[in-house]
Subunit: 320 residues, 2 copies
């Protein structure tokens, strides 16, 4: 078995070798740019990990891995336009560098590039691969739509939030796992178990990310601690606190402007008072348990599951 780090290295090697057309220059330059910005390549690594559960020939899955990574980066390009974000991984976003119109169009062509990668898989798995990919892509778009709509609403429920992060974040991890399994020769049932593993891991991962926004070690977290608090983002923690807090406390959560450090301190105090971190962790653990159950059910030797167990463990342990 390859370690996730070894698989990441394979992905990093494959990305610069993708043969995009040369012309029109400004249509393809943004694609090379965003694809080269790095990150942990979690999604394509998951594809290859899942493939390796069922076959040693992981190169079979490289096209799907690149399709997933290209699709993920396409969503970053378009989401950054919608969020009006100036920076991505510490560098200028595509629309800042090339303009909004160019960014829309380069994003569109990335979707085509994803589909070109996909179409290279063996014909005997092409149909299930397409069906899984399309369902995944659709879910991600639905998640982004809900995320945008929730910004404008004041009555978002916790169930709605969980459904939103399932679609926006977790479906793609589930899809990556399922696609890797299919290409590796898994049965439909096995592929579905891998989907369940990935999706539940994904929800837990996002809940963990919400917790780390408040309680993370600034040096390890990689984003501004308290960023969600300042943006009044309707996370699980925010919504849970709204549900539990006294009427006079809720303005701290929804206030706009004012001193940033004060706001972060006040909201964190509320979170502490209502033990929101513990409640979020309990919620997260439900999803991790489901992920582990899917893994338990999967009929492959336990030693092949080692790296998958570690994925779960990493979320359990990260900065607690």
């Amino acid at each position: 078995m390859h370690s996730p780090t070894a698989l990441q290295a394979l992905i990093e090697k494959a990305i610069p070798q993708i043969d995009y057309p040369k012309y029109p220059v400004d249509l393809y330059a943004p694609i090379r740019y965003i694809m080269s910005l790095g990150g942990k390549r979690i999604r394509p690594v998951m594809v290859l990990m899942a493939t390796e559960l069922f076959t040693t020939e992981i190169e079979k899955a490289m096209d799907v891995a690149l399709a997933i990574e290209t699709f993920h980066n396409f969503t970053l390009v378009h989401d950054d336009i919608m969020d009006n974000a100036p920076l991505r991984r510490g560098k200028q976003t595509v629309h800042e560098k090339w303009g909004v119109n160019n960014a829309i169009l380069s994003g569109d062509v990335m979707m085509v590039e994803s589909n070109k990668h996909l179409s290279k898989v063996a014909v005997n798995v092409l149909k299930p691969v397409l069906d899984t990919f399309n369902a995944t892509a659709q879910g991600v778009c639905e998640g982004q739509q809900l995320d945008m709509e929730f910004e404008q609403r004041n009555d978002v429920s916790i169930a709605e939030y969980l459904e939103m992060i399932r679609l926006k974040t977790a479906v793609l991890l589930g899809g990556a796992m399922k696609l890797g399994a299919i290409v590796g020769g898994a049965s439909a049932d096995e592929a579905e178990l891998m989907y369940n593993f990935g999706e539940n891991l994904g929800v837990a991962f996002q809940l963990q990310d919400d917790v780390l926004d408040v309680y993370g070690n600034p040096e390890k977290f990689g984003k501004q601690v308290g960023g969600d608090i300042l943006a009044n983002k309707k996370t699980f923690m925010h919504l849970k606190t709204l549900a539990l807090a006294e009427v006079e406390e809720t303005p701290y959560l929804t206030s706009v402007g004012g001193n940033q450090e004060d706001k972060i301190a006040q909201v964190t105090q509320l979170y502490n008072k209502y033990q929101i971190r513990e409640l979020a962790t309990l919620e997260m653990d439900k999803y991790l348990e489901k992920a582990n159950t899917a893994l338990d059910t999967l009929n492959v030797p336990e030693e092949k599951k080692t790296y998958f167990r570690e994925l779960v463990q990493q979320i359990l342990e990260r900065d607690r």
Copy 2:
């Protein structure tokens, strides 16, 4: 053989039956809206026409026809954002009605919907169908990129313009024809001939559209006569005139502001002086001849080609 009108009726019947998800409402409402705005459904009709050259079972091609129409409408949604267009077919554009972010995202999900339609074709043609569709989609994006870039440039050559309209407009007609042929059971050579027919027809169609912008019957044309002139659009006619006119005449072509009727009259006078309409028609005829040659070479009974010959004839005769 079904007439194009009969095929259009089949498309019009199929579109409202497409089963989009209900939720999130504002992600899918724009798709139903743009798909219902009508138009002549030229591209999906072409898919079905091409299929019927090779099989009587045209229903085999309906999914591909809907994929092509959905993709075409997706390009309209995103192009209208880029062009900042308020109206499409006399109605509000999607981004005017739902906002830019929503329009970006609904467009994205239309691309997924196109791919979902495509994935339903028979497995034995799935791979060539995907390859053809992806090459087509990529070409259309490249054409849109060139079109945007040309607005900012003052050194666009006629060859570049022809390449731009080939990509932006003609490749999709070629792709529609080729996809229909593949699904109908055509050989690779036959499918390629259909592509050539469609692509050459498409370039001729766009050149005709440029001519009609100036010389069209306002009641039949459906757009503002002189619209390209007022926008200083770098069409074949514009570029040819720039190449032929005296230095003191070129400011008429490139002026901004001023009286609109005067500008249209002045530029039309220049076009008349340099016989630009005739030159454009000669250029168009080259492409129509190539389209006819592709049709001649195709080894199917001549009576099956009737409606294809009429497509060529319609361009030859339209408002001359």
